[in-house]
């Protein structure tokens, strides 16, 4: 059984724990995660891939489970030093252990390795049990257009998300570099070879929709043989985690399970979904889209594995 998952950071990481737990019961299963890299950013000369790292650390059991991101037992000595040197920016906290990951990545990228190779090299250490692929090997960065002094200004997604906690009204998202990006090595193959494609309950705008906008990926999903089942990141009108409610309105999409389903679209109507899981109590009616309501709270890998089992059932697999 080959399962390919589209995933963002923290939510995607937790979901993948469930997929891995689900697949552990199946002989010869292979899981591939296609991970958003639109959040990637360079800080202090270090190339940082927050979503890839959240997934890697989580699957490795090395994540700080309380924060949901970064390394367990993390310290912040270098960050304190950078502040003492007056090195900007100071609003993006880089942990000491985490910096080692960024150093290895930055050096490998500088040496010419594509991000997919770098990611594979980093994962060698962690033995994640899931093959992690960046959505693209090319540099794409999500910027957020905000109002300023009567005009408009684009800031990096991380500045909007982390520094301003999504508190500055966003006028638009601009995916710099995305138009001309190509899927990373292995991405289209992982979609074409999948028995089941799952869309994790990640941020629908800045994670999943970013992946879907990489030229070629949505088309591969639509034309691929595998059923595509998504899980709603919105429960009862609010995101389970994160600040998707600050993102969806920017695209004119309602913050609801129905709104997100409409954003992804049913395959039969030119979208990508063959099925949609929503939380108990939420209702979605989209022509041609089978919907299953069940508990979608990822309280444990086992609970999430049961969602995956239901997703597989909805897909008819």
């Amino acid at each position: 059984v080959r399962i390919t998952v589209l995933a963002g950071g923290v939510g995607g990481a937790r979901f993948l724990q469930g997929v891995r737990a689900f697949a552990a019961g199946l002989a010869g299963s292979e899981i591939t995660a296609i991970v958003n890299t639109g959040d990637d950013v360079t800080m202090h000369g270090l190339r940082i891939c927050p979503d890839l790292d959240s997934v890697m650390y989580t699957l490795a059991g090395a994540v700080d489970t309380e924060r949901g991101w970064g390394r367990e037992g993390e310290t912040w000595r270098i960050m304190d030093e950078l502040v003492s040197y007056g090195a900007e920016p100071t609003w993006f906290a880089l942990g000491d252990l985490d910096i080692a990951t960024h150093l290895v990545r930055t050096q490998m990228l500088a040496a010419g390795y594509p991000l997919s190779d770098v990611t594979a090299a980093l994962c060698q250490r962690w033995q994640t049990g899931v093959r992690l692929l960046p959505m693209t090997d090319e540099r794409c960065e999500t910027h957020v257009v905000v109002a300023e002094d009567g005009g408009r200004r684009a800031i990096h997604f991380q500045e909007w998300w982390v520094r301003h906690r999504a508190g500055l009204p966003a006028l638009d998202f601009v995916q710099i570099g995305l138009d001309s990006a190509r899927p990373a090595a292995g991405v289209l193959e992982a979609i074409a070879a999948a028995d089941l494609v799952l869309i994790a309950p990640s941020n629908p705008v800045v994670s999943i929709n970013t992946i879907l906008q990489v030229p070629g990926i949505a088309g591969a999903l639509r034309s691929g043989p595998a059923p595509v089942i998504g899980l709603s990141p919105i429960i009862g009108g609010a995101p389970v985690r994160g600040m998707a409610d600050a993102c969806l309105p920017v695209l004119g999409v309602e913050t609801s399970a129905a709104g997100v389903a409409g954003l992804y679209g049913a395959r039969s109507a030119g979208g990508v979904l063959d099925g949609w899981l929503v939380h108990t109590g939420d209702t979605v009616q989209l022509p041609g889209l089978p919907v299953l309501a069940r508990d979608l709270l990822m309280t444990s890998p086992e609970a999430t594995a049961a969602m995956v089992a239901d997703a597989a059932r909805l897909a008819g697999r």
Copy 2:
């Protein structure tokens, strides 16, 4: 009183503490250190300037006094991570606090700032009381030619010094990039404006002689108005610290106060020295070179300040 000092790393740093203590008693004194950068190296994508950092940390009171280099209270968490990732090299220990310095430097260099500006920016934080100048803003690196499998191979000085502890027989030193290097901004001015130039008791081959080989520096010393007084790094046939005895024979120079004096040369004979301080018991006879014997053990900044006072006296200042 303007004092300009040619200095290497640990020995140079201790010497500069003495120069600073000496100058503290003089109104309006200015100390400039011209520091060797031939030891500089890039590791894990970080630009590392061991001598500049040893001097900066020492003058800031932030050095690990036991090791003589690196930061007090240093930890090695990132290095452990790099080892876990299998990132080479693992023989060059990078401390966590130290890495912050390298991150700031690397990013400023990548942004196009010359090393002299970067050094000034780093020193802003530390308030060293001594103006630190790299000998050159250009990238120069000392390599060591060693025998291998019947042939010859050049390895970076740090690999020879740190990894092999100068234990591989050196056939030659090659200063890559030095021929075409220019003195860093401020270097020639600091020599021309000095009332006294001191040559610290640093490694005579890979620190001082490297500085003297930057095109223009030796000439500026020879034609400059300030007397140039050197202090022998060799006491009774052995280096006070470090492994100069592994370096001097490579140049065919005897490991003695006389040998080093001959290497630098008397100004009257085409060299740079106007005076030479040796340790009590050592004798040097070089035509045209006034020599003063005294205790040269840098046991404290005050003890070293007394050497500087004697150097100034020998210079007739």
